[in-house]
């Protein structure tokens, strides 16, 4: 039945999705938290090109033992990808990223020039 064939192909197809993100400012850092459940650590890629931060990652290929038949599938094979435009000067050497429990946390320290600096008024 061709519809079954379509369903099987669809389950195997890889789609590209935007991971949900929280962007917040914590002290002197801009922090991004992205939901990337099931991502394979080896495929995670965080790239800062000019003012654009590019985040990429790929699902772990789940190989279930042969005896299992799928009954109901909502999770897909995905490639996570998202671009962020930064409008603050960043200290590029201080960017840190870590991945735990399916969440990628990137912390970008603001450059000294972007920090508010009090200007003394000469009297």
């Amino acid at each position: 039945m061709f519809l079954d064939k379509v369903k099987k192909n669809q389950a195997a197809e890889v789609i590209t999705v935007l991971p949900y993100a929280n962007i917040l400012e914590q002290g002197n850092n801009i922090v991004l938290e992205l939901d990337m459940p099931g991502a394979d650590k080896d495929t995670l890629d965080v790239n800062l090109q000019g003012n654009t931060l590019v985040v990429r990652g790929r699902n772990k290929r789940e190989e279930l033992p042969k005896e299992y038949q799928p009954l109901y599938i909502e999770r897909r094979q995905v490639t996570y990808e998202r671009h962020f435009e930064l409008n603050t000067e960043i200290d590029r050497d201080g960017v840190k990223a870590d991945f735990a429990d399916g969440v990628l946390r990137i912390s970008l320290p603001k450059a000294r020039s972007a920090q508010p600096r009090k200007i003394e008024i000469r009297s």
Partner: protein, 157 residues
Amino acid sequence: MALVPFRGKDNWWMDPFSDLEKIQREMNRLFDFSLARFPMGENTLLGSQWAPAVDVHESKDNILIKADLPGLKKDEIGITIQDNHVILKGEKKQEQEVKEDNHYRSERFSGSFCRMIPLPTDVDADKVDAKYQDGVLTLTLAKKEESKPKQIKIDVK
């Protein structure tokens, strides 16, 4: 959902199924993906703000459930087996709301979630294996002996 024959510019009459296939595929992709983010219906209890995407697989002896639950700690997830449903619930605590923090964007789900997953057979609640890794919860449930498919021998006299 009924499929409507598509009379497009292409030579659909050459391969009458390819366009239907395409529409079906695109609609499925739209619905599958959006349902995965908000699987509502009888499976979600009122009051929960979101529900995880879930896969259910079955073998002769076991039922395997995988759920996408990023950013939770083990003690924030509650797993209950009731009648022949698995109930996944929990509370994703708001990450400490420090007052000086400026939140520019807040897309990630937070708050409580609850999802009831119907099982095809009864399972043995004492033999459940739960693993939480990289934001994915994997549950392996052993089917009750009487629920396993049994080959019945035919006596030919």
